[in-house]
């Protein structure tokens, strides 16, 4: 163990102790949360006329003294939450948490993963995207609108954050994986009107990660996500349009997929595996890890002690081979 590892462990332990010692403030935040946030839209988000929502943060950990497990819904103002590394390597990840399109989780998947990638020198922007079933016009495109806008904003702020626009990627979990799969297949689709200079920037990520993703809206979909995104009884056309595995073309960036065989919530064959096969058929460089054990939504905390706990290292190694990450990889 070198000196840096010791210091890193010290910081992690201090953060854990701080988390233990406190409870949520009235707005749902913790003192350990990053304070830097970026609103996605200068005014009302697209299709948001008449929508009035105040973010609600709910703690669902049975023991918040041991760990936090918050989620957010009622998202009226989508934001980026900025996690800056102490030693930036110039790369960035737009991170899209899951939550079945009915909420997005905060600690598990999002903040815990962000801290892990910060430690590798990556600047992480956690996307608090709008939820399709909360009153927006064109509900099915709301997550994609936010994802496109987020990627453009990050690139527009590249100088400010010391990041290289050509090394900005995206990583999504579960329904957030559907957000990612939508962005990599539809980054050039016009889904909102240009509002400022940032909207002229390329929304194609340099690379993508899909963690136990929802991919299809057809047979084998995650029913809850589909109901939120497409409404009850979607047409065959809508199902086809929002099934990402059917839209893989040559402009899709290199993609990493990781899931577990025993995922009971999002069927592996119809989603993650189908996406991998579509990527391979389109000759998109891609990597797939299907752990025997892990279930759905293992993130960082629930993976502990299982082989799937190595997923961040696998992603970092893959990203380093791709030339996007430059930090130290173990």
């Amino acid at each position: 163990m070198d000196r840096r590892t010791v210091l890193g462990l010290g910081a992690a332990t201090l953060a854990t102790m701080a988390a233990r010692a406190e409870s949520m403030k009235p707005d749902g935040s913790l003192s350990t949360d990053p304070t830097e946030t970026i609103p996605l839209w200068p005014a009302t988000p697209p299709g948001g006329e008449g929508v009035h929502l105040t973010a609600r943060i709910v703690e669902r950990s049975p023991d918040p003294n041991a760990y936090h497990d918050r989620y957010v819904d009622s998202v009226g103002m989508p934001i980026l939450i900025v996690f800056r590394p102490s030693r930036p390597d110039g790369s960035a990840i737009l991170l899209c948490p899951g939550g079945g399109y009915v909420r997005t989780v905060i600690d598990k998947e999002a903040f815990e993963s962000a801290r892990r990638f910060n430690a590798a020198g990556i600047t992480v922007f956690v996307l608090r995207y709008r939820l399709p079933g909360e009153g927006w016009a064109n509900r099915s495109d709301v997550p994609l609108q936010d994802a496109q806008r987020a990627l453009r904003l990050i690139r527009s702020y590249a100088d400010h954050y010391g990041i290289d626009s050509s090394r900005v990627g995206i990583l999504g979990f579960s329904a957030g994986g559907h957000v990612v799969a939508s962005l990599i297949t539809r980054h050039a689709d016009t889904v909102y009107s240009v509002s400022d200079a940032a909207d002229r920037i390329d929304a194609r990520p340099a690379f993508a990660g899909l963690m136990y993703p929802v991919v299809t809206m057809g047979d084998g979909t995650h029913g809850g996500s589909r109901a939120m995104l497409l409404g009850a009884n979607p047409s065959p056309q809508a199902i086809a349009e929002y099934s990402c595995e059917r839209h893989v073309a040559s402009a899709v960036p290199p993609t990493f997929l990781c899931l577990a065989r025993d995922d009971e919530a999002v069927p592996p064959l119809a989603n993650g595996l189908a996406m991998y096969e579509a990527l391979a058929a389109a000759k998109i460089p891609s990597e797939l890890h299907v752990f025997q054990e892990g279930g759905h939504g293992f993130g960082i905390r629930l993976a502990a002690g299982k082989p799937c706990a190595s997923w961040p290292d696998l992603f970092l190694k893959w990203g380093k081979e791709g030339g996007w990450f430059r930090g130290e990889v173990h």
């Binding site: 290199p254 065989r261 990597e287 797939l288 299907v290 025997q292 299982k306 190595s310």
Partner: protein, 296 residues
Amino acid sequence: MADPTEIVRLWPSTPPGGEGVKLVTKMESFSQNLANHDRFLRDVGDPHLWVCRPPKPDGSAVLVIAGGGYTVIVIDHEGFETARRLNAAGVTAFVLQYRLPGEGWANSADVPLQDMQRAMRLIRANAKRFAIDPTRLGVIGFSAGGHMSATLATRYDEKVYAPVDAADQCDARPAFAGMIYPVITMGPGTHADSRDRLIGSDQSAARLEAYSCDKRVTPRTVPSFISFGGNDTLVPPWPNSMAMYKALVTANVPVELHAFEDGPHGFGLTGDSPKGELNAKLFLAWGARGGWFKSA
């Protein structure tokens, strides 16, 4: 690195179907660098196990099957290097020097399975001597050797030779199986040289199917670990690794899959390359979680 010196002959006399076969094993090398062996075997007349013992045994053991298209055996790169990496994790390795099917044996398509079954039984019959737990004995194979480990994983209890001694009472079922960039199918998308060597000239549809491991999967197939590279141009992943993975999932057999973006055929399971080491770590972590490896 010295070769292992402990050897266990598989058969007390002539191997099954070996009447009239006279072969003297030849060892040649792909490498002209004496410091970096990369030897291969052919004309294998003396099938045996090379016993590779770890400095700190954890009681587990793996039968290691190097590939070579059923034409040669890549004994250093996929055999001894794998054994060294497993040894470093406390696993006792038995590197199989197996008979090649195209070298004159009767029932040549079952010759590799005969040698594997016999090897598993001999290891178990001598478990005490090797200081291993017979319930924690698995198999791992590479390329054509992956066709062998997949064959053993699916056909471990098929009778393919007449018992020769008491050891043949022992169970030949591996507790787990690793299939590394394996040849699986004998149908379209196979590795043609492997197929021609194994199957010979009678390539009827029934025979091709009988030797396609994905067609032999049942719920009794053993827990499996599959890894390959998406850019493998020698053994196409889809009709081979992916077909096996799907067959195992369909039969509800525990299985783990790792498809590296960059994994050219032959990356191995070796501490000598980054991809080989990553493959080793994933295999060892999977085997530790399965309860077979104890010190990984």
